[in-house]
């Protein structure tokens, strides 16, 4: 039984008896136990994360590992000890789902998983629709069986529910409850058998850093030199990171829960857990039976954050440090809701509230964990903001990253390096955590934007964009126009060629103006704000060799060339795709998307030679970028420059500095939208002027400002250009992605061996694009997929490749030039045939779709005449 439900005693003065407390004055039997003088790895924090990490490190052959915790064992007092311990595997995030599934596998192997089933109930129509999305995500990530239940079917499984309040439920029979403390203990014991040193009641006093690398951990049981130190301290992690001058950007938050019991109905329960867990999604609550009791938890109350320094010490806590005093007033409305939903149990006067806490958990600015080496301090790793459901999976993944440099599950969305400095401030984290908290069980649209702490990074074009009625979306803190209301007149101009969306969900965070901007770009020209790019230079005598090693493609090219290249992981998967400009013999400029720019920067910096012969200089905040594309782009640019911008004078994939009106501008002739044009880079303080020059020069040519809706979706999709984080992930290789053109360069590069092997093999899956043949739903409404939907056979069977990966929509969006809705997906080779008739599932219905490309040939302008015109 978990400590969370160990509410058999009153929360009185000695309710913490089971866990015990240390005494700083010493007197404990092993108080004289000193830590080893030096270790390869020190893991700080013995919750589910630290224990599983330690276990997997030793399993993978790591030696000299010490696990320490300030608290006693087996429950050191962190969030593991009071966690609610239930697991719902289905999540819209693929990465989170994979971590959860791996964790469930481990919990089952450890014998601490009780399969209970779980039902997410719906009280209204939008939620019912959301549950069909859950069905789709379950199918996309391969979680089966799952089903939609009507209220009577829910009642059959949960006979004490007031089924009149609900419209239906999403049932996952594989949901379960784990004993996370027991799991942590077993893993620690297994690790100890392999030589793990364990030291409880050991407080970290300092983490010493020398020359940018972690050097030693100072504790109440002596100092230990360490090559690598992992902070797995849950809500305390920011405090520990600060000791090393690093940052683990999370905030502790409070989640309320109570245990009530004993309920007469449960007295007869034969199993510890006999009824499915109920998630009452629309009220941000859950109820679950365990033994004779019912646990009621809530995310419905006001967001309550605290600082890591505010968490009490073990000794000061009445229960444990992460079980804070319950604030009854916050929970009163939830009691009313639970009473209404489960009157037989909750309304029983003989059933008492036996335990009630404000439990502390860790929340980040974007809801994802913080995994990996910190960018600030070499050898200092973070394993934080991880909940029970993903704990062992995260532990295994991090261990693989530490030992092998690559993990089975690609955790790029959890990489701690992703976080920009502007996202690390306490105020920002708190604002986003509070906003995210209320969405914990919310219906979150895939394009939904944050409302809090906006306008943090503004490009020099911002004022112009705002005047044009830009609808701003945020990336990496940057405000980027997604479309411009000023382009509304284009809707009339293009009339029927612009597809409208009838369903509110499909049209949310979207505008038909995007498609109109796209058509205007294809007809005339568009200017696009790309200032959110992360830009960094690698320079120095060793730069060429370093960049050769980092990039898959040949970068030993003449100065002035632009190379589009994947960066591979050691196992030949995608770490990123980006462009590199050779600006000088020893100067290479990397330009990559803003979203993972910081992760990329760390990846590149980590692979520079140790001798300092190549250096990385971050230029992100020095340069703004304005994209200029369309058939009139050359006319526009030539009207403000004396430079030769003819196709011969400035061929494709070249870059050079030219004078544009009075400005000096770095122009790079490439395109992610498949049209003639340039990326124009100017010093950020000259950006506003650049905008004005191009806008003025473009006016006679009918230039329009276009948003990221064009750049990131419609423009690239009809050209079938892949995007990192969608089509390109570490789990897929270059051959599967259809990007293995040309021959493999002679120079060595990261992932080369794997890449050569992949070229010799039949791919397990092939990147394809499909178009939807009929959008009409059963109710006659035209529906438009948004991404992550399962691709299935016409009769609904999932497509699974020989590596067990399912086919799902990696990107979806309009191809306005084609008048079609386009879907990208990896398909097993037998289905990756142009003309193959398949289907896509969306909101509980199946729509026919046909494969239109199965290699890098674009659906629009297959000969690429435009970019090379």
């Amino acid at each position: 039984m978990s400590a969370a439900s160990g509410g058999e005693s009153a929360p009185g003065a000695d309710a913490r008896e089971a866990s015990g407390t240390p005494d700083e004055a010493g007197g404990t039997p092993e108080a004289n136990g000193r830590l080893p003088a030096a270790q390869r790895v020190v893991v700080i924090g013995a919750g589910i994360v630290g224990n599983s990490l330690a276990y997997h490190l030793l399993r993978l052959g790591e030696t000299e590992v010490t696990l320490i915790d300030k608290g006693p064992l087996p429950n050191p007092g962190g969030s593991t000890g009071h966690a609610s311990n239930f697991i719902f595997p289905v999540d819209h995030s693929k990465e989170m789902t994979l971590l959860t599934l791996e964790s469930m596998r481990q919990y089952k192997e450890l014998g601490v998983f009780i399969e209970s089933g779980g039902i997410e109930i719906a009280r209204n129509e939008p939620r019912m629709q959301e549950l069909t999305r859950r069905m789709a995500s379950a199918k996309a990530w391969g979680i089966e069986p799952v089903s939609l239940l009507n209220p009577e079917e829910v009642l059959e499984l949960v006979p004490f529910i007031n089924h009149k309040l609900i419209m239906g439920g999403f049932y996952t029979p594989g949901c379960g409850v784990v004993d996370s403390l027991r799991a942590a203990t077993i893993m620690r014991e297994r690790a100890a058998e392999r030589g793990l040193t364990v030291s409880a009641n050991t407080e970290v006093l300092g983490i010493d850093v020398e020359g940018g690398r972690v050097r030693r951990v100072r504790t109440t049981r002596g100092d230990v030199e360490a090559e690598r130190v992992v902070i797995a301290c849950g809500a305390w992690s920011p405090r520990l990171a600060r000791m090393a001058g690093a940052s683990i950007p999370l905030t502790p938050m409070v989640h309320q829960m109570i245990d009530i019991g004993p309920a007469p109905r449960f007295a007869a329960a034969e199993a510890m857990i006999e009824y499915p867990i109920v998630r009452d999604m629309d009220t941000n609550m859950y109820e679950r039976q365990e033994g004779t009791g019912l646990e009621i938890g809530s995310y419905a109350h006001r967001p309550i954050t605290l600082d890591a320094d505010e968490i009490p010490s073990i000794d000061e806590s009445a229960l444990t440090p992460t079980e804070l005093p319950f604030t009854q007033d916050d929970f009163d409305p939830q009691m009313e809701i639970a009473l209404e939903l489960m009157p037989e149990i909750v309304g029983d006067e003989s059933v008492g509230v036996k335990y009630a806490i404000n439990g502390v958990l860790s929340v980040t600015h974007d809801g994802m964990p913080l995994l990996g080496e910190t960018p600030e301090v070499g050898g200092l790793w973070s394993a934080a903001a991880i909940w029970i459901k993903e704990g062992p999976g995260a532990g295994k993944t991090l261990a693989e990253l530490m030992v092998h440099g690559v993990s089975e599950i690609d955790v790029y969305e959890s990489n701690i390096a992703r976080v920009y400095p502007c996202q690390r401030t306490r105020a920002h984290i708190r604002a986003r955590a509070c906003e995210g908290f209320s969405k914990m069980y919310g219906i979150v649209h895939p394009s939904e934007q944050w409302a809090s702490d906006r306008r943090v990074r503004l490009s020099p074009f911002y004022e112009h964009e705002r005047e044009l009625g830009a609808m701003f979306f945020e990336t990496a803190g940057w405000e980027r126009p997604h479309w411009y209301e000023s382009n509304a007149p284009l809707l009339d101009e293009y009339g029927e060629r612009v597809t409208r969306r009838e369903a509110e969900w499909d049209a949310r965070w979207w505008s038909p103006i995007i498609n109109a901007e796209h058509l205007a770009m294809r007809d005339r020209a568009a200017m696009i704000d790309l200032s959110a790019f992360a830009v960094f230079d690698v320079t120095g005598p060793g730069a060429l060799d370093a960049v050769q090693r980092i990039a898959m493609r040949q970068v030993d090219v003449p100065v002035g060339r632009v190379v589009y290249t994947p960066l591979l992981t050691p196992s030949g998967g995608f770490k990123q795709d980006l462009t590199i400009m050779r600006l000088g013999a020893d100067v290479f400029r990397f330009v990559t998307g803003g979203a993972y720019g910081m992760s990329d920067r760390k990846w590149v910096a980590d692979h520079l030679p140790a001798d300092g012969s190549a250096q990385l200089h971050d230029q992100t905040n020095a340069w703004c970028t304005l994209g200029l594309w369309g058939p009139r782009a050359r006319d526009i640019l030539s009207s403000v420059t004396s430079a030769d911008v003819s196709h011969e004078g400035f061929p494709f994939a070249r870059c050079r500095t030219i004078e544009v009106d009075t400005l000096s501008v770095l122009a790079s002739r490439i395109s992610y939208v498949g049209d003639l044009g340039w990326e124009l880079y100017a010093p950020i303080e000259q950006g506003a002027r650049l905008w004005e020059i191009i806008a003025e020069a473009g006016a006679p040519h009918g230039i329009v400002p276009a948003g990221i809706g064009v750049y990131g979706t419609t423009g690239r999709l009809e050209k079938c250009y892949r995007a990192y984080g969608a089509e390109l992930e570490a789990d897929y290789n270059v051959v599967e992605a259809g990007m293995a053109w040309g021959k493999v360069k002679d120079a060595d590069f990261i992932g080369k061996e794997a890449h050569v092997r992949h070229r010799a093999q039949e791919p397990a899956a092939v990147m394809c694009s499909l178009t939807v043949d009929d959008h009409t739903s059963a109710t006659g409404v035209k529906r438009y997929m948004l991404g992550n939907e399962p691709i299935v056979t016409p009769d609904g069977a999932p497509l699974v490749d020989r590596r067990g990966r399912r086919s799902y929509v990696t990107s979806a969006g309009a191809a306005p030039s084609l008048g079609r809705h386009i879907l990208m997906s990896y398909l097993p080779p037998e289905h990756a045939v142009v003309g193959e008739r398949l289907a896509v599932e969306f909101m509980g219905e199946r729509y026919p779709a046909t494969v239109v490309t199965n290699d890098s040939t674009p659906a629009f302008d297959p000969a690429n005449a435009r970019v090379r015109s």
Binding site: A25, I314, D315, A318, L319, M335
Partner: protein
């Protein structure tokens, strides 16, 4: 019958007590609040007596505005109403406390039949407030009770003493202080919690007289500096344990 239960809000302390800067209070930054287990039993007894004999129960506290939480807690297990003597959070000495309580009781239009207190408060443990209230009101009192029965206008009280129980019988109205063990207090039900929100709390703000038992500062007792001797791990330690027991002459 009409019953009053007096309770005191105290922090729910952990294994280690931390004092405020001025050393006049426990730092409660991380702590929740509760009442003494004795007082929980008093409240439970009041609820049971009203269940048996009819009437009503009131829970009274003298404390800061936040002490309303403790009144609600007791109303959640079935106490009917609350009476809050609101202070600014300063410590009140037992004489002042008793005087304020007596004044509140006196001003009640319909007198109480039984006034229940905890034997001593969890924090200050002055052992005297109830007795002073009894004197102020001219009522009989008995302390440290672990058995209460009401019949025919009298309350029969049992007190645990060495070797057995002493029995007292008091005419009502009377003042009785009780000890934990009198009963096993119930947990509040969810409906009880929700009802408690709607029950009335009467407030008054008595003036605080100069203390005659004047707290100057709090301090932590010196630690024992004790060193433990590990006799062994698991069942193998048994012979060593027996040696110790023989050494102490208890075998």
């Amino acid at each position: 019958m009409k019953i009053l239960v007096a309770v005191k809000r105290v922090p729910l302390t952990g294994g280690k007590i931390v004092l405020t800067e001025d050393e006049r209070a426990i730092s409660t930054r991380h702590l929740g609040f509760t009442i003494s287990p004795h007082e929980e039993c008093a409240a439970e007894e009041a609820v049971r007596l009203v269940e048996q004999h009819g009437g009503s129960s009131t829970v009274l506290t003298l404390g800061p505005p936040e002490a309303a939480e403790q009144l609600r807690d007791m109303m959640a297990i079935g106490i009917d109403g609350g009476s809050h003597l609101v202070t600014s959070g300063e410590e009140w000495d037992p004489q002042a406390t008793a005087a304020a309580i007596a004044e509140a009781v006196r001003s009640e239009p319909e007198p109480y039949d039984l006034l229940l207190f905890g034997n001593e408060s969890a924090d200050a443990a002055n052992y005297q407030v109830a007795i002073r209230v009894a004197y102020a009101l001219g009522l009989p009192s008995v302390t440290g009770v672990k058995g209460v029965a009401v019949a025919d206008g009298r309350v029969r009280c049992e007190q645990e003493v060495a070797g057995g129980r002493d029995v007292y019988e008091l005419p009502l109205p009377a003042v009785v202080t009780v000890k934990e063990g009198l009963n096993l207090p119930r947990y509040p039900s969810v409906p009880g919690r929700l009802r408690a929100k709607r029950k009335p709390i009467e407030t008054r703000t008595p003036a605080r007289p100069e203390p005659r038992l004047e707290m100057v500062r709090l301090k932590l007792p010196p630690s024992s500096g004790n060193r433990v001797e590990v006799l062994g791990h698991g069942p193998e330690a048994a012979p060593a344990v027996v040696d110790v027991l023989q050494g102490l002459g208890v075998i």
